[in-house]
């Protein structure tokens, strides 16, 4: 679990259309609804469907967040597309005690070995969950479930209102996907 007292910085890696930016926004809104301070923003650029995208979240409980620069040394990295592990340095700047949350059907041990990831790991087959519950491979809400299971940065219930507001009649299915990913996420601490 990440220490939730001070500043927590999360970096999301996805592809345009997978909802990385939306994930970041929803988590920040959940934290704000908990009465905390949070910000979310995309890596600024001209977005294109399928291209690698990055989004950021900062959450802090004790005081407002002033820094607006991109997150260079995250506490947590969330990877929406396992293919990105081969083309993007997703762990760039990740703190030594940080956590990587990955959408993959592989076991954490396998991913750790394959990509030499020397951080705590959390994995979930979010693509399968999204296909089954939403009918499309849009994994953002499932990966929020995995992030919350792995880190506890916000409460699962705090996401309900932001998801309802964002997805309307599709909210219930997204909430189900988030909950199921939350249950199915496998966690291995660093060194295991």
């Amino acid at each position: 679990m990440v220490n939730t007292a001070g500043l927590i910085e999360i970096r999301w890696h996805g592809r345009g259309g997978q909802g990385a930016v939306t994930s970041a926004e929803l988590v920040a809104q959940a934290a704000i609804n908990e009465g905390r301070y949070a910000q979310a923003f995309p890596a600024f650029g001209a977005e294109r469907r399928g291209a690698p995208v990055v989004a950021f979240v900062r959450i802090r409980t004790d005081e407002p967040i002033r820094v607006r620069a991109e997150v260079a040394e995250p506490d947590v990295v969330v990877v929406l597309d396992p293919g990105l592990l081969r083309i993007v340095d997703v762990t760039s700047g990740l703190k030594a005690n940080g956590m990587v949350v990955i959408n993959t059907k592989k076991q954490p041990e396998q991913i750790r070995q394959e990509f030499s990831l020397n951080w705590s790991l959390a994995t979930v087959d979010a693509t399968k969950i999204a296909r089954e519950l939403l009918g499309v491979p849009i994994v953002n809400t499932s990966m929020i479930g995995a992030l919350l299971r792995a880190t506890g940065v916000v409460k699962l219930e705090s996401l309900f209102q932001p998801l309802k507001q964002r997805f309307g009649r599709l909210a219930e299915r997204n909430i189900s996907a988030m909950k199921r990913a939350h249950e199915e996420t496998l966690i291995r601490s660093k060194g295991n």
Binding site: A38, Q39, F41, F44, A46, V67
Partner: protein
Amino acid sequence: MTEQRIGIEVSRAIAIATKLANVDVVSAYPITPQTHIVEDIAELVANGELDAAYIPVESEHSAMSACLGAAAVGARTFTATAGQGLELMHEVLYIASSMRLPVVMAVANRALSAPLSIWGDHSDVMATRDTGWIQIFAANGQETFDNVLCAFRIAEDQRVLLPVMVHLDGFHLTHMIEPIYIPEPSQVDKFLPQNQYPLPLDPNKPITMGAFAPPDIYTEVKKAQQVNLTAAKEAILQCWKEFGDCFGRYYSPVESYRGEKAKVLLLVMGSFSETAMSAIDILRGEGKEVGLIKLRLWRPFPFDEIRRAVRGAEVLIILDRALSFGGPGGPVCSEIRSALYNEDKRPKVIGFVGGLGGRDISPGGFKEIINRGIEISQTGSEREFEMFGVRE
């Protein structure tokens, strides 16, 4: 009756502010580099949540022209633009201020082409410096939201009747989700009176606006405009005071952060000033007597407040996010240097230009700027300014 605290993108919050202000006319050209501001307003109007005329036009030049007409009949008028769009409006901006038309515009501050850039800096704003608009720089989402509400009141104040730009940094503010307090409509109604434009265009009472001015009157008109814009500061200060009394958030033309007894001051405008606060904290922790000045009111320029804020400092370091090519550095730095020139005792003024075209400056970067500024001040280097963070 309390405000609601929500997590919202700053651009979308501005759309809510215009709804709470009950704008009558919005004219905009919705294409890159636009933001969610006018997209959301279009939706509010289409959904019947905002009873306003939304006029989509064929260019930014036309957007501002439509705003002139709307403001001239006494409508509460709003538009938003950014970067190249602001440049395309350029000649019409002068007409809004010279004809005393209280248009309010949110400007997402962006770099200018070429090379093509949609990212943030203050190049677009600085090109509009002399257009006669009141110009306010916001440092965070709440300030942006609050100052859009204030902008209507300032612009429409009978003593002012001038257009107002509220500047928010492209991306670093426009695309940021953050907590913002949104007041109740009744609270805003209490703060923001109806627009009572004194001489509206009316077919039953014909008047002439923007008439021809031969040499025997043009100078007098410009003098009047100068007096009017300078005097607008009183109305701005009063508006900010009353806004604070209503909502508990007080604003001032110049704000100091840990600036008391600081030997070295850093001055920054816009959202980067919040990042700079962290650098000040780090350096204060190292025992350095440094402080920060945020310049919020750019026009009318707050001469007295600036002079007061830097009194006692030995070094004043100024960051500009725009470059005056072949000139004395950034526009903010050269204006402040000039404002201090006739003071008996003044700090050494060291200028930096950085954060261009969306280049981030981290707290560590601001620390470097401050340390380099101190170094330059000690060596007595004659450079006009330095560009920060350039790969050479």
